[in-house]
Every structure is written in C-alpha cells, then in structure tokens.
Symmetry: D2
Amino acid sequence: MIAAFSISPSGIGPSVSRSVADAVRLVRESGLPNETNAMFTNVEGEWDEVMDLIKRCVDEVAKSAPRVGVVIKIDHKPGVVDGLHTKVEAVERHLAED
Amino acid sequence: MIAAFSISPSGIGPSVSRSVADAVRLVRESGLPNETNAMFTNVEGEWDEVMDLIKRCVDEVAKSAPRVGVVIKIDHKPGVVDGLHTKVEAVERHLAED
Amino acid sequence: MIAAFSISPSGIGPSVSRSVADAVRLVRESGLPNETNAMFTNVEGEWDEVMDLIKRCVDEVAKSAPRVGVVIKIDHKPGVVDGLHTKVEAVERHLAED
Amino acid sequence: MIAAFSISPSGIGPSVSRSVADAVRLVRESGLPNETNAMFTNVEGEWDEVMDLIKRCVDEVAKSAPRVGVVIKIDHKPGVVDGLHTKVEAVERHLAED
C-alpha cells in the first residue's frame, strides 16, 4: 500500500519546518520507498511497517508541540509493486497517448 | 487522541453502504467511544488501539473490493478525556456566549 | 454533494475553539443542511454554495491566525437528496438486518 | 495558498488512471504551478483560481463515473511565493544542517 501523510504541530508558531524535518529524517532512515513534496510525504510498504513509521514520526513531532494534527490518505491495492512510480507513469502514459 | 476515518472500497459499484456497515460493526464492538456520521467515523483512544481497529476495518472491507481508499485525520492532544464530546461543547459554549 | 471540512488555525496556541466557533456560526447562518462533530463539519449543497461557504469560513479564521490548514472531503453523487441523513440510515439498516 | 487534491471516481472498476489523466491535463493547461505525485496533485495559486480548477477537474471525472470522492488539503499562508518549492527546501536545509 501507499500512504500519504502530513503531520502538523500546533501551538508552536507558524513555522514548522524544523519539526517536519525531524519526521522526514525518520522516514528516510526507515528504508521504505518514500517521497516528500510540499504537502505530504508518501511512503510505500505493508500496513504495519508504514503505520509504525508514522507513529514514530508523530511521537517525534509531539515532543516539541502540545498538539499534533495528522492527515493520512492510503491507497490499499494488493499486488502493486513500486506504486510510487507506476501510478504516476500510468497517468503520464495516458497523457502522452492523447 | 481522536481519529476520524473513512474507508472507500472501489471497483464494486457506487453503493458501498453494506461494506461500510461491516466496518462500523467492528467499531461498535471495539468498546472504544465512537460516532458515525455521513462522512467519517470518529473513534477515541490510544494510538495502538485506534490504529489496530482501523486496520481490521480495512481488512474487512478489502475482502469484497479489489482496492480500498482510506482517509484518516487525527487530533493528537495528550491529556484530553472524552474529546468526542468536549470539543463540540467548547464550540457550542462560544456560540452561546456571543 | 456533501463536504466534510475542518479548519485548523496555526501559530495561535493549541486552543482553537473560539476561532472554530466563528466558522461554525457562518455555517449555521448559511441555511445549508449541516452538522458539526468533534473532527469535521459536514455541509450539503451544490459545489458553488458549499465552496463559497468554506471560503468565507477560512477567511474568518485567517483574521486571527497567520496560517490556516484546511482539509475537505467531498462525496459528489448527483441526485442524492438529504445525504447527511440517508447515508447514515443506510448503514444502520444493514446493521439492523444482520 | 497550496492545495493538494485527489479525485477518486467510483463505480467504474479499480483502474482509474485514464480518468485521473483527464483531470491532470486540465491542471497542466491551467498555467498554475503544479506537481502530480502518486497520491495527490499539488497546485499553487489564489483560492478562487485553485478551487475553480478543482471544480473543473471533478466535473471532468464525473462524466465517466456515477460517484466521485474528492480530498483536498490546503495550506493557506498569505505572502508565501513559490511555496511548492520553498517548503521542501526549508525541510531539506534543516536535514543538511544536522
């Protein structure tokens, strides 16, 4: 499955990039395929390993914020391999064909 | 923490209430405080018990659909008790005061 | 269509119920069918009227916060009437039948 | 502001890349800064132009599906220019410093 997740600390001022960086570091150290963009970090793996990683990210951010908001969107489709790339490629292929 | 989650099976036609009902049954049997509205089911508890419940709901829905989309929004605020009610009450109190 | 939306001011401390109440007031004054729970406010209507309402809510909250996060989930199904109630009733009916 | 949005047609089978491609084409023709990843398309602009674009994307997808789910996450922070790049760069800078 692929999960896109976003962690928003609140109660600590409007600039949160330091806190977000601490979470992104955990993602990159996880060994799971991942990609961080302006709004979400995408991670691909099995439910338990992805969710365990997100939990550790939330715990990390919660160290420096009294409240943390999390948004997770999951695409659960058994049998997909390297979905982080193949999903985008399928869209690009349709666009190139037209 | 409180989690609002929504599970959307796809590839099985536009009517999904049967499949959603199977998941809601698991939520009600969990013993965790919960509430189902037109768009999300809200559940209150610790991270592990809430996430384990959502996983079981996704597995249940995935039995009858080749693909499942999940959206989860979490409000993680340590020390909050009965947030399912107190959050709405705080808003209502402000509205009544004005 | 039905939209569930949540507006999160940031940079103003962890307690946001006053700010959220200002937005809920606009929703209730809109005349659109609506329901506020612990995580989202659900509103039912046509795209333009719902999105115009959400914009006014965001503008209201942005008056007192340097940054505002918004999450919107939409169920767009032409021909549905009173979906705020009928969606939940369909689930309850399945649960009662089993 | 930046909006991340995802449009999920339902009732048309599990493969939706053709339908998603039709929406991505509209995004690219819009002239707004944008980026499509495996889970969301990010678009940067003013509220009205971004929301008008998303509406046209939903209408396009709704032509071939009886039901459409939409998830939108917005980061509303007045004064930010080129947030699609600067947000990621701020995180990378923190990671490089440590």
